[in-house]
Symmetry: D2
Subunit: 337 residues, 4 copies
């Protein structure tokens, strides 16, 4: 960490601050330039609160050198993390496809979609029971009943399930879920992250609409700091000025996160684009950029879907897509898991 | 609502859809142009799920004409809403200043700041007990104990309190809080919004970092749809590409929200800029643009604040600011409440 | 085009406007809803100036149905455009790699890089003679002398050249350039676009940092409206809130532009990321998403490059990349041109 | 400037680099931390090209301490710059209102608007002769003829004129213009900036749609580096995700630019919002935030304006606004100039 002083900082102010920093065990390197004076801090700067420091009005700027996340940081954990969920390996050369409807709507629907996506080669069934909807007047999900139907579909097909949690109070209902998903709007619901940190269950953490990669990794760190290191990251598009798609898929986030962290990264092309026909090219781009998996919306009757119909594929269209995904994954050196 | 068809839409597809729409009570106006064919829907389109419609691949585009929010909409409620909290009126010509530290740290601290900001003219004491922090390693707030200390400060000064909730499970602890704040990161924590909709207590709803004004009003609608119409909106800066400030204060949101909604709007210049010296010019701009109040961070010892020191004013600096706020509010035709 | 009236619009105002619109040859469809009244315009609405209409204060909103670009629009030109430059085909199944240094620095440098990238399989030599630099104190390019050196490199290798123009006054110098590039910062330099519209030479049009896809296609339309239909689009990353990369590659723009327009689209992964190690994964993603080519920065001595060293590949690294690009392009069904 | 090395940087690499930096006259301060090793550079780092440095793959990160602009920097020029144009002072306590139509359309129009805005108290007549329009099919301005009509209006009223240039080739036509405007889309048209740097005439430099404050000041630096220090900055809204306004007025840019630079800053609320009724609250906010002036669109017949009618005020509405601007400017301690 580097602290740059203002021109009018007094010797006394600087010396007092240096004393306080030494008192918490840090080494200090001074550097006096023509136009600026600064110090570099040596040691474990995680104990330094930048907020506090910045309130010293003789400080011009504080620059952090090292990343603020540790458990999620590849520097301290060079090997890829491989997460096992219901016997399926995620990351480390496996490529995992999670597919299913935006919302669970009925037993007939979810069981049928589960059979279809399994037949096409999906490794997980996704489906929303608790639905975060922008409008209070939109369908809010079947909630507990929806979780129950997902389990029915799992029994019928053997496909493990991934579904979204929205509130810590619902945690007991998620005991029999294989991967718990945290949605984009809850990426910084820190109480929820802390609660998930106490579980032994894999968590799929979607990136927030306007979250930087560093903030996203800090949210993973919240879960990991609690003791649960089974975090799968999911890039699903960010909010930009462009309006022709629902969101802008940040494809660069895939290699960047894999460079900065050891956690697996999957891509959700359905939410990224919000348009069914664009799922295929974005899925191909995700594989090519090094993603560890895909999360794709599939609905048996998109026109009558209770949510996100516009971006859902029919089972037939998904099957066709899987015939392209399979060789592409192999071409890029991974194995469909 | 207008539905534009693709060129290759068949007569049969269009007629089937029109039949379905008529069946839910809507009128249909057809319009056949040279390059496009479209229909206008007449009646209560809130029953139409755009997601479902968009899954029809013969539809090119759907354009909404009316806003998706009702209870928050000025069209259906032309008069300004005035909210009373602990005997103080917010909105409708009153100008309300809420001030206090980012975090409650100790009894001595919060009681002292409460006395100071009251003496300077603040109408509410703000202070965080539950703190949403980007890093799990940062101070997380005194939680329940912090709420207790806020009540102590209220007893000592008579100042009503406003403080942030992060989780529905903590709701019982907030029974004796005057205004419950929903932070930017929880603006779309829909379960929390629904729970707050069942209370009779005023809610201060901060705008999310990347929330459009429409999404912000939809979150207000969530609370109001539950029966609680006491919603105060708070603009606190949005995330943009500009990095010289913490956030970009969207000053235009003040007149825009006041045009679209009848709810009062306050501005938080402390979080918007993240820099203490910028609080004054942004506070002045907020008053000039028509805001109904300000939320300002004040700390007795910013250099040793456990959070947000860089943007906090000292009580002396806040007092000086209030001597400018008071005549400015009057100049622009409101009254300090 | 649809015009929605305000609630308080009078019969007289609406009728007068309808008369004016009929007078310019448009048909009118009226639609009167419960909460809104609107008209749809039928015929060639390109004669309608939305700006003018919006000044009528009894109009609530105007919604365009058809795209404002014609010559660039795939609707009116369903076949892919194939552009020939110096005997090389761009688009329509060909995949074109353009490579070379950010700036032309010396004859030795540019001739050597030209030989290297040709040996590795590039079809065009790129290199900047006129350089748009953020700082007036940075190297501004060799200008006319740089163009001359590019021609020398072309003579030495046979590689056609693509280089950036910044000002209409320099046009005479570009007569012997094979493809003229318009940089991101000049995407809406309309005088320059108009001048290029009068040439018969291919133009590579980079997307502006904050240009929507529609604005980008409108800039292509400027060139095409002048008579020059040889426009190659180049996605090079957009500006967002994310700061860990120089720009955010908008990979979705590739399939979206190819759906909306018939023009070829190449991707510049060097500028998109600004980091040499990220060029490979982004290049792979671009091929997978359907791009028609790549523009890649290659420098014989990146550490001593006068600009953009951080994102340049060495010739050896580029050669290695080409051994991956070649089979990938074939895997996705295109041919290296 | 601080250079942080990667963990695997060798002693040899670091020593070689230090030698090269010392050779260009810089001092070096080494700092070796637990997790990082870095050096601070002392002396005139404007000779260091960050691009070049970053190409050294043993460098982790380079952090600049001082701003890259000098002539525009308040640190080296603490006093406010006051610019005189046609005898009117801009900056330094004066408040300047520039008003007029988006486009010059006819002699009758521009002379009438000039008379009207002068009567209401404007100090400059604005009006576009060369118009940057997104569509090639929109009205492109009267060009040379428009400049001539502006001069006619100046003769008729005595009001000095400010108008936009789009291309260096048109410079000779601008000899008799009082302030030359550079539009948002040309903020980084560096050839144009360099040409304007050679004039003795004031330049009004609008901020680009996605330009950071630093980039904006670097564009001012381009003009000033050429010898022309008469630069007036104009904030006119930036591009964000919010779509209910045309742009998002970055009100914080006013105090931030005034802190970082000594140049005067005016605000254009007409372009910022794109909506006539929002001009007033944004104008008030701009005055309150410390702006040195306003640029406002006024048209005698907005409904029939050839561009930007939706955001133009009628002369009557502008006159009413001026009756509010005048006391507000005085309230905030400036004088209408």
């Amino acid at each position: 960490m580097i602290i740059v002083f203002k021109k009018n900082a007094t010797e006394g102010q600087i010396k007092t601050l240096e004393g306080e920093l030494r008192a918490i065990g840090l080494g200090i390197h001074e550097s006096i330039g023509e136009h600026s004076r600064l110090i570099g801090l040596i040691g474990d700067v995680s104990r330094v609160d930048i907020d506090q420091l910045q309130a010293n009005d003789f400080i011009e700027e504080i620059k952090r050198i090292s990343e603020p996340y540790k458990k999620a940081n590849r520097k301290f954990h060079p090997e890829d993390t491989v997460i096992e969920a219901a016997g399926v390996q995620i990351g480390g050369g496996s490529f995992t496809v999670m597919a299913g409807p935006c919302s669970v709507e009925s037993e007939a629907q979810i069981v049928q979609v589960a059979k279809d996506v399994k037949a096409s080669g999906a490794a997980f069934l996704r489906g929303g029971a608790f639905k975060p909807r922008t409008s209070p007047y939109s369908f809010q999900g079947l909630r507990g009943e929806g979780l129950h139907l997902l389990q029915t579909a799992r029994s019928a097909t053997g496909l493990p399930i991934v579904t979204e949690i929205m509130n810590t109070e619902d945690l007991p209902l998620f005991e029999d879920v294989d991967i718990i998903q945290v949605g984009a709007r809850n990426m910084q619901n820190f109480e929820l992250l802390k609660a998930l940190g106490k579980l032994g269950k894999p968590v799929l953490l979607k990136r927030g609409l306007s979250a930087t990669i560093e903030e996203w990794l800090m949210s993973a760190e919240y879960i990991m700091a609690g003791g649960n290191e089974k975090v799968i990251l999911c890039e699903r598009g960010i909010r930009t000025f462009e309006t022709s798609m629902r969101n802008t898929l940040d494809i660069s986030a895939v290699p960047m996160v894999k460079a900065k962290s050891h956690l697996p990264v999957v891509v959700d092309p359905s939410h990224a684009a919000g348009i069914a026909w664009m799922v295929e090219p974005l899925a191909m781009a995700a594989i090519a950029a090094g993603a560890d998996g895909l999360m794709i919306e599939v609905h048996n009757d998109p026109k009558h879907a209770l949510s996100d119909g516009a971006q859902s594929l029919t089972p037939a269209r998904f099957d066709e897509l899987m015939t392209k995904i399979r060789p592409t994954v192999e071409f890029f050196g991974k194995k469909i898991g």
